[in-house]
């Protein structure tokens, strides 16, 4: 039998399949957000965000967890960003295509594929124990910064690559050195891309649990962090504890904590998206 679909119909079917697949992507996002907001919004208050937990964490606020996460994450990005950008500049602007360069690039790709719990164990072994940082903000930040390094390097290289090669040639042809060209032409024009990448990285590592589990996070700390060598509470780990380890936990506090974490991550992504649109608009070439 010679059965052939009429082209108009097949076009319609293809369109429907593609469209439904796309819808399928947003449905889980909507359900998750809706569920968390519905169950958690009643817990959110100024007090929830700015006070210590009370009553075995069954009441009160989550301030130490928020501050703990912020300090680990900001510390991590301050370590990983300069190192990552320097590495990206070296790889993009200086490195010759030789064996060493290829090994480095391979290492970066593989580093990105390591499961995060392995980073956690690595951090425990190296930073917490070998280097004697103890379970602390700095140990957690170092662990997260190593985990995020390949991402930062990759996005920074993308940003450097987006600066046209012709700009570099124009600068060199005027007798300006390679480093000055990087410093005054390449970096300023790549900076927006690098910064949006950094913000997205902050969002990503804010939600990471495994790498800080053994290196920074504590079950409960009765005071706010005072130094880099303090153990801290952290939002993702706190969320895990209150949802599984504490009996009779009020549901709205669990979901309220999840909502705060979600807001933190989403608002970072939003800032990155807005910044990207803005920089694309004012871009001069």
């Amino acid at each position: 039998m010679n059965f052939k679909l009429n082209p108009k119909l097949s076009q319609k079917i293809a369109y429907a399949v593609l469209f439904l697949s796309t819808i399928l992507v947003i449905i889980p996002v909507l359900i998750i957000v809706f569920n968390i907001v519905k169950n958690g919004y009643s817990a959110i208050s100024w007090e929830f965000l700015t006070t210590m937990p009370k009553d075995g964490m069954r009441a009160g606020g989550i301030l130490p967890a928020i501050l703990g996460t912020l300090s680990i994450v900001l510390c991590a990005i301050m370590i990983t960003l300069p190192v990552g950008v320097c590495a990206a500049i070296y790889l993009n602007e200086y490195a010759k295509d030789n064996l060493l360069t290829r090994i480095i690039k391979l290492a970066i790709v593989n580093l990105a594929g390591v499961p995060s719990v392995v980073y956690g164990l690595f951090g425990l072994g190296i930073f917490v124990m070998l280097l004697g940082c103890g379970v602390s903000i700095i140990a957690g930040a170092l662990t997260l910064s190593i985990m995020e390094l390949p991402v930062i390097i990759t996005t920074a290289r993308g940003a450097l690559n987006s600066v046209p090669y012709a700009f570099r040639e124009a600068s060199w042809s005027l007798g300006v050195s390679r480093w000055q060209t990087i410093r005054h032409i390449v970096l300023p024009n790549a900076l927006p891309g690098i910064m949006t990448g950094a913000i997205l990285s902050i969002a990503r590592i804010s939600g990471e649990t495994a790498p800080i589990l053994f290196t920074a996070a504590a079950f409960y700390v009765p005071h706010l962090p005072k130094s880099m060598f303090d153990q801290v509470m952290a939002l993702p780990y706190h969320l895990y504890i209150i949802s599984t380890q504490i009996p009779n936990m009020p549901k709205n506090i669990i979901f309220g904590t999840a909502l705060v974490l979600l807001m933190l991550v989403l608002s970072m992504s939003l800032i990155a998206i807005v910044a990207r649109i803005y920089f694309r608009k004012i871009r001069k070439w």
Binding site: K96, A166, E169, W172, S173, L174, G175, V176, S177, W285
Partner: protein
């Protein structure tokens, strides 16, 4: 007649493929040497070797020597060389900054002019490239917004600001209309008094208009070089004659 540049047995290769073969040529001080020739005859490769822009290309290699005022350019620091031998590309490449900053960029980096007399440097460079009158009221606006011809003259001004000795032009008018072309040519003729110029052009008429001498390149070889008038009226080589009368290439 003093030779500004002397090329001795230069051979250039991209990944082993020879694109310039044992080239011997000289550039006289304060002349405009036009180089004509069909596509792929090695004109751009020659210019990019003269100021060592090809150093950045890992596939590039060369044999032979080039002397600038009797100094071997391959023994020089490439950045110092490029300060003395400026280059204008076929496509104008304004840097993504203001007109003023485009011109002050290199002098600042190279420490040529102090901030105090930067205004003078900018004005003089723009006057010498015949652009001043068109942009003097908007020096702080973006250079990207200029027309193609204006951008190309801005790029000339940018080179003049570092006061090189030699300027290399690679088909500077290929994307320009006749009026813009005339303006760039006018700027070039003015520059001849102070600078030594090598002009690569696809436009045979342009070579005959501005060239002091003209060289004809073919397949990486120098076929013929002579005073422009002589080369155009009575070329020695038949291939030169065929090319300038448009019978091939």
């Amino acid at each position: 007649m003093v030779d500004k540049i002397k090329v001795n047995n230069l051979c250039c290769f991209y990944g082993g493929k020879e694109v310039i073969s044992s080239l011997n040529i000289n550039v006289v001080k304060n002349e405009i040497l036009s180089i004509i020739g069909p596509s792929n005859s090695g004109k751009t490769s020659f210019l990019r070797t003269l100021n060592r822009m090809n150093d950045m290309n890992v596939n590039f290699s060369r044999k032979g020597n080039i002397f600038l005022d009797d100094e071997n350019i391959f023994d020089m620091n490439p950045e110092n060389l490029r300060k003395r031998v400026g280059m204008l590309f076929a496509m104008p490449i304004p840097l993504p900054m203001s007109i003023y900053d485009n011109i002050s960029y290199a002098p600042k980096r190279l420490g040529i002019a102090s901030n105090r007399n930067m205004d003078e440097v900018v004005e003089k460079s723009l006057r010498d490239s015949s652009l001043w009158d068109e942009v003097k009221d908007r020096l702080n606006s973006s250079a990207i917004k200029l027309s193609g011809g204006q951008q190309q003259r801005l790029c000339i001004a940018r080179i003049l600001a570092i006061e090189p000795e030699v300027i290399l032009f690679d088909e500077p008018c290929s994307g320009l209309d006749p009026i813009s072309t005339a303006k760039v040519e006018e700027a070039m003729l003015k520059l001849k008094e102070k600078y030594t110029i090598v002009l690569v052009t696809n436009n045979v008429k342009q070579a005959s208009r501005v060239g002091t001498r003209t060289a004809f390149f073919l397949m990486g070889e120098l076929v013929e070089i002579d005073n422009t008038a002589k080369l155009f009226v009575s070329p020695r080589d038949k291939r030169t004659g065929d090319y300038i009368t448009g019978r091939f290439g």
